[in-house]
């Protein structure tokens, strides 16, 4: 990988984050022609929703932080500087909780669920899609295409409701919501970890069900053209084992576009997961966002949006960096 490529890619990442931050800053102001933070503060104070000293402290804090009396471009610059330092300010609805702290609490839940569900859905789907095309695989896999296609079309949060109803309510196997039972004290202990897994199974299942279909369809399309390649035919003519041809020739090559798509799909996956978390009251970023929307807590909304975009941008960038490890054609082109 050339240094030029790395610099360009990191630059792209920074541009995305900058653009996201700017959208966050300008949209509320452009869309409504007013400052939602100030408005919200006034509203809260008027309705007595906040203790008086809280409002005072907050207004002061905001004036100091954002210089709300200063011209727009100064505010913008300040906002960017604070965002760059990951200083996201205070929650409007839960003062004096800091947005950064709230997000830091929610982040591991979301990342954990997202990573596990994506890895399972991606690997399972890729394998099933590959087997659906492989002539020597059981015919069962060929017939799975239609059910998988149906699953892939339905958003995971809707599947989630069905899953809760059947496995959670009717069969009572898994807890319906939350990240762990109310009485448990979080900590790095086996019983707590098991409980988290128990609670995460249903939301993960909802995501996996949809993801499996999506990835299986993608892989299937890729495999159809890969098995027609000359090198597959020659591998067979050279008497390689069927298993070797399947994994090291067909799947290995059909997998490459699949991996690229994985990077692109992260954004999509997060979008779906936000709602899944709400449906399951799972203590991640999605639920945090949902509560913030309900309470018109703009600082939290902005913070979650910014951090999510940064995190996904980071993941996509890492995937771009790892791609040349999978495809020699890329790394060598870049080396030249």
């Amino acid at each position: 990988m050339s240094r030029g490529f790395i610099i360009r890619r990191v630059g792209l990442f920074l541009i995305v984050v900058w653009a996201a931050a700017s959208v966050n800053f300008f949209i509320p102001r452009l869309a409504t022609g007013r400052d939602p933070i100030r408005e919200k503060l006034g509203l809260l104070a008027a309705s007595g929703g906040l203790r008086q000293e809280g409002v005072e402290a907050m207004v002061k804090a905001y004036q100091a932080k954002f210089g709300l009396d200063k011209p727009l471009h100064t505010q913008y610059l300040n906002f960017l500087l604070n965002s760059a330092r990951l200083d996201l300010g205070y929650s409007l609805a839960n003062y004096p909780a800091r947005v950064g702290r709230m997000i830091a609490n929610a982040m591991p839940w979301t990342m954990g669920l997202l990573l596990v569900a994506t890895i399972i859905g991606f690997s399972l789907g890729t394998l099933m899609g590959a087997l659906a095309v492989w002539a020597r695989a059981p015919a069962l896999f060929r017939h799975l295409v239609f059910p998988l296609m149906t699953l892939s079309a339905i958003p995971p949060y809707l599947l989630g409701l069905v899953v809760i109803y059947t496995l959670g309510l009717q069969l009572n196997i898994f807890p319906l919501s939350g990240g762990y039972s109310p009485g448990t004290f979080p900590g790095f202990r086996l019983d707590f970890i098991l409980e988290v897994i128990h609670h995460s199974t249903l939301p993960a299942l909802a995501i996996v069900l949809q993801a499996v279909g999506f990835w299986a369809l993608g892989m299937r399309g890729m495999m159809v053209s890969t098995v027609g390649e000359d090198y597959i035919a020659l591998a067979e003519a050279n008497g390689l084992r069927s298993k070797t041809i399947f994994f090291r020739y067909a799947v290995r090559n059909a997998f490459l576009p699949q991996y690229t798509a994985l990077g692109l799909s992260m954004a999509f996956a997060v979008s779906g997961q936000v709602v899944v978390e709400v449906v399951f009251a799972y203590p991640g970023m999605g639920t945090l966002l949902f509560r913030a929307i309900q309470a018109s807590d703009y600082t939290v909304i902005n913070g979650v949006v910014l951090i999510t975009i940064m995190a996904i941008g980071l993941v996509t960038m890492v995937m771009d960096f790892t791609y040349p490890l999978l495809d020699p054609r890329i790394s060598h082109q870049r080396l030249d």
Binding site: A135, E229, D230, Y231, A233, L234, A235, E236, A237, N238, G239, L240, R241, S242, T244, R248, Y249, R252, N253, L256, L326, D327, P328, R329, H332
Partner: protein, 333 residues
């Protein structure tokens, strides 16, 4: 290298009554139609025909690689006396490369793009039970045998030129010293100079390993230079078999005659331009001799009698012009 002195007439491959059928929506197409052919150890044999004449299908049938909706519907393929069509799938897999190896048509894309050349050679050998210690230096040796530098082992296919890729494919093909090398238009995608080098490599390798080379193609010039004997295919049938001299100087079958006549005048190189008449439909073949609708010398009985290969002054042809014979197949060509 250099094998022991061999009897040039020792039979290596005997094909008897080989048939391949394709089941299509509009009926059954017989792509390889009752082929009888014998190849001798160490010889270079050329198989010629238009596209669709069944020559590539026949190669795939020898390797037992006919895919659905096609199937081998009859016959025998004896390699050193063993009927390949009776082997189990696993025995057949082991016979590929070890007994009969393939040099592919489209070398541009015939190597796995994500695996180093050396690894691909090593994999082919290890999948046939070749132990690692025995391989030490063998890969480099193989690369040198096909005219590549040993360092090529460390490269990926996209770093090779078309000719180098084809050489790498040949290195794999000879890695287990097969008795029979099937080369299906091995130089079709290459330029003329590279073509010549590849053919020279194939020839010298065949001679040094005492392997039989079955070359498939439609370039009559290339065939004339490279092979010793030739077979002409039309519509899935073998219509003429003879030495290169016989085929070129006194072709017997009218189709062969037209083929020779259609070669451009500068005799050494050239591809045929086609024969007048409507192309053959395998789904709806004519009765009698398949060629009779296009044949300038067709007799009345050609429409009803399907001739089989018959010996004529040392070489074989399937044509009624040279006398009628019974339905049974003539002596092996």
């Amino acid at each position: 290298m250099g094998g022991p002195a061999t009897d040039m007439r020792q039979k290596l491959l005997e094909i008897r009554g080989l048939e391949v059928e394709f089941q299509t929506r509009r009926g059954i197409a017989r792509a390889v139609n009752c082929i009888d052919l014998t190849l001798y150890a160490g010889e270079r044999f050329g198989l010629v025909g238009e596209s669709g004449s069944g020559k590539t299908t026949m190669i795939l049938a020898l390797l037992r690689m006919i895919r659905e909706p096609g199937r081998i519907s009859g016959g025998q393929v004896l390699l050193d006396g063993v009927d390949l069509l009776k082997l189990s799938d696993e025995e057949m897999r082991k016979t590929r490369l070890a007994g009969l190896a393939m040099v592919p048509q489209g070398a541009m894309n015939s190597l796995n793009p994500v695996m180093r050349v050396g690894d691909q050679i090593r994999l082919s050998m290890s999948e046939h039970g070749q132990r690692r210690p025995a391989e030490a230096g063998r890969i480099e040796e193989l690369l040198q045998m096909v005219g590549l530098r040993p360092q090529v082992a460390e490269l990926y296919p996209h770093e090779l030129s078309g000719g180098m890729k084809q050489r790498a494919c040949i290195a794999i093909a000879i890695s287990l010293r097969p008795r029979l090398i099937l080369a299906d238009e091995p130089t079709s995608a290459l330029d003329v100079v590279v073509q010549r080098h590849i053919m020279q490599t194939l020839r010298s390798l065949g001679e040094s390993m005492d392997a039989t080379v079955l070359l498939v193609g439609h370039d009559m010039g290339l065939m004339a230079q490279f092979t010793q004997r030739m077979g002409i295919m039309y519509g899935g049938k073998l219509v003429e078999v003879g030495t290169v001299e016989e085929i070129f100087s006194s072709p017997k079958h009218p189709y062969t005659q037209l083929l020779i006549a259609s070669i451009p005048s500068f005799k050494s190189r050239g591809e045929f331009k086609g024969i007048p008449g409507v192309a053959l439909s395998l789904l709806n073949p004519p009765t009698g001799c398949l060629f009779h609708p296009r044949c300038p010398q067709a007799l009345d009985e050609c429409a009803s009698v399907d001739p089989s290969l018959k010996e004529l002054d040392g070489h074989h042809t399937a044509c009624l012009l040279y006398g009628r014979e019974g339905t049974h197949a003539a002596t092996p060509a």
